[in-house]
């Protein structure tokens, strides 16, 4: 493979690629999607949403799904979460079926809306999954305190969701998703409703949290800079039916620490350009042109 920035869709983490990309996974991959199609049966007939999707997400890897509206990126995430079933093909999470993985609580999930229960305090919202799975109240309290500390909301434990800003609500939702120390985090445009400043702050926090927990992340987004800033690999999808157009490994320099300074760096802008061109379906020649810059 001569062109690590534009590896074909089926590729596992690019061989000699990005230094920060996880090389061969030590165990089974976090997510393994093989030949998945998804067709929705609507009133106006069958609507193909996903077509021939193959994707592998290694343990601890951060993979973003990006593409225009209707490209099926949210649907793909819902298949991993077992909120929908594929029409054909197979989705495996940590080597198990998606259903089994959901039952075993192998993933945490955060949606575009925070989706907090309005009658519960911040602490009680974070505690919800622990409560449902019978964690004793003392260890529940400790874990919640730890999580709220992690997302910087320790002082807001007793507030109610309607007393928080949108960004704070989203942080609570992320804390809730992390409550059971999942090794896989599914996020469907979690920062989509936030303003740009809050968004960048949240991205930095997410990077820190991922480093702390070592969880693999599948992250659905509309934003190219967001995908580049966060990801090890960016999966570019095209619509109708949703296909994986290209998988782009992020190459952000040798010491690609994801700090605010990264947003100013040349490598960052280059990767933004690569993803943008992949997204706009530039011909293969055009994409190849990118590396020569």
């Amino acid at each position: 493979m001569t062109d690590p920035t534009t590896a074909p869709a089926v590729a596992a983490p690019a061989g000699g690629g990005a230094p920060d990309a996880v090389a061969a996974p030590p165990g089974t991959p976090a997510v393994e999607i093989r030949g998945v199609d998804k067709t929705f049966d609507t009133r106006s007939g069958l609507v193909p949403a996903l077509d021939g999707i193959d994707l592998t997400v290694a343990e601890g890897e951060f993979v973003s799904l990006i593409g225009p509206s209707g490209c099926g990126k949210s649907t793909l995430m819902r298949l991993i979460a077992d909120l929908d079933e594929p029409t054909s093909g197979e989705v495996r999470v940590f080597g198990k079926t998606a259903r089994q993985a959901r039952r075993d609580q192998d993933y945490g999930i955060a949606f575009q809306q925070a989706g907090l229960l309005p009658w519960r305090t911040v602490a009680a919202n974070v505690a919800l999954p622990l409560e449902l799975h019978g964690v004793a109240s003392a260890s529940r309290r400790d874990r919640v305190a730890e999580l709220l500390e992690m997302v910087g909301l320790a002082d807001f434990a007793d507030r109610y969701p309607d007393q928080l800003s949108g960004g704070m609500q989203q942080r609570v939702a992320i804390a809730r998703a992390l409550a059971e120390r999942p090794r896989l985090l599914l996020m469907d445009e979690p920062f989509g409703a936030l303003d740009e400043m809050t968004r960048e702050k949240m991205q930095a926090e997410l990077v820190r949290i991922c480093a702390e927990t070592g969880a693999a992340v599948v992250f659905v987004t509309h934003s190219i800079p967001e995908a580049v800033f966060l990801s090890d690999r960016v999966v570019v999808m095209s619509p109708r039916p949703g296909r994986i157009q290209q998988v782009v490994s992020m190459q952000l320099g040798a010491d690609a620490s994801r700090t605010e300074a990264l947003r100013e760096e040349r490598a960052f802008f280059e990767m933004v350009t690569v993803v943008r061109e992949a997204l706009h379906g530039a011909p293969a020649g055009g994409a190849r042109g990118v590396e020569t810059r």
């Binding site: 979460a81 077992d82 909120l83 959901r102 039952r103 609580q105 993933y107 999930i109 949606f111 809306q113 925070a114 989706g115 907090l116 229960l117 309005p118 009658w119 919800l128 999954p129 409560e131 449902l132 799975h133 109610y160 969701p161 309607d162 007393q163 928080l164 800003s165 949108g166 609500q169």
Partner: protein, 290 residues
């Protein structure tokens, strides 16, 4: 705090306006009432038809009968009102159980909703007066071991028949109210039906349930009073209404006593549910940002 006081002031003001209208019409209106053609559209203003407000209130303090051992009228009414309240409360509780039960079944199975809801609506079109005696006569034949059907149970049953309807409809709407995102969240937690019910559907239903329970309480009181009248149950306020109305020609102010009692009864019943709402106030929050 000032909002609460203004609410009290408006309430008191409303009562005063009512009293003023009553007395003004009594003072200004013709003694034979306002008659259009052969139809009387406004009542007679005689002391017999419309006693003065102060006469009606004053009568409450006087004894029920001329017998020297008779209790004051307000005492008799209070006792009757409490009896009816107890029966209505029993009916309300049965209505809550039945209403919430039906709502659970309808929420769980779409088919049940389609099959049951029309019947539930239809049930409320049956005239209460018509089937109250039927319930009583059926009840009198019920005897299971040591358990014997009491007449007050027929009244409570009829009260529950009126109470369950708004509760079933409100509870169904509430149980169906959680957003898709919340339902899916519970699914990702692999939470079963009962866990989802306890942690999500019931809490989410509270804002819908509270007005439904209040409506159910008011209905239970109306049902109990009407059922007392039509089954002839002794001891309740429905019975007093009939009894004192019969004495109205000699003692017009007395007949109004049980009417006031019934009004207060309805207020107490609805107020008790409002108290429940105050306890559950956190369940009435919404997710909106302050």
């Amino acid at each position: 705090m000032s909002r609460r006081w203004s609410a009290v002031a408006w309430g008191a003001g409303g009562v005063l306006v009512l009293v003023a209208l009553w007395e003004a019409y009594k003072f200004l209106g013709p003694a034979d009432g306002v008659v259009l053609g052969t139809t009387r559209v406004l009542p007679r203003t005689t002391d017999l038809a419309m006693p003065h407000v102060w006469d009606m209130l004053g009568r409450l303090a006087e004894p029920v009968t001329r017998s020297p051992s008779a209790p004051p009228l307000w005492g008799a009414i209070l006792l009757a009102a409490l009896t009816t309240l107890g029966i209505a409360a029993a009916g309300w509780l049965v209505g809550v159980v039945v209403g919430v039960g039906l709502a659970l079944v309808m929420q769980r199975w779409r088919l049940a909703e389609w099959g049951l809801l029309p019947w539930i609506v239809l049930s409320q079109t049956v005239p209460l007066i018509a089937f109250a005696p039927v319930v009583k006569s059926w009840g009198s034949r019920v005897e299971i071991g040591a358990f014997e059907w009491q007449d007050w149970m027929s009244v409570a049953l009829i009260a529950s028949y009126l109470a369950f309807f708004p509760i079933a409809v409100g509870a169904l709407k509430g149980l169906q109210s959680p957003d898709r995102i919340h339902a899916e969240l519970m699914q990702t937690y692999a939470a079963g039906y009962w866990a989802t019910l306890r942690k999500l559907r019931f809490p989410a239903a509270v804002p819908y349930l509270l007005p439904a329970l209040r409506l159910g309480a008011a209905n239970a009181v109306v049902g109990a009073v009407v059922a007392e009248v039509s089954t002839g149950l002794q001891g309740g306020i429905g019975r007093l209404l009939i009894q004192f109305a019969g004495q109205a020609s000699g003692d017009p102010a007395k007949a109004w006593g049980p009417i006031f009692g019934a009004v207060v009864l309805g207020l107490v019943a609805a107020g008790s549910v409002a108290l429940l709402g105050a306890i559950l106030k956190n369940y009435r929050r919404t997710e909106e940002t302050a």
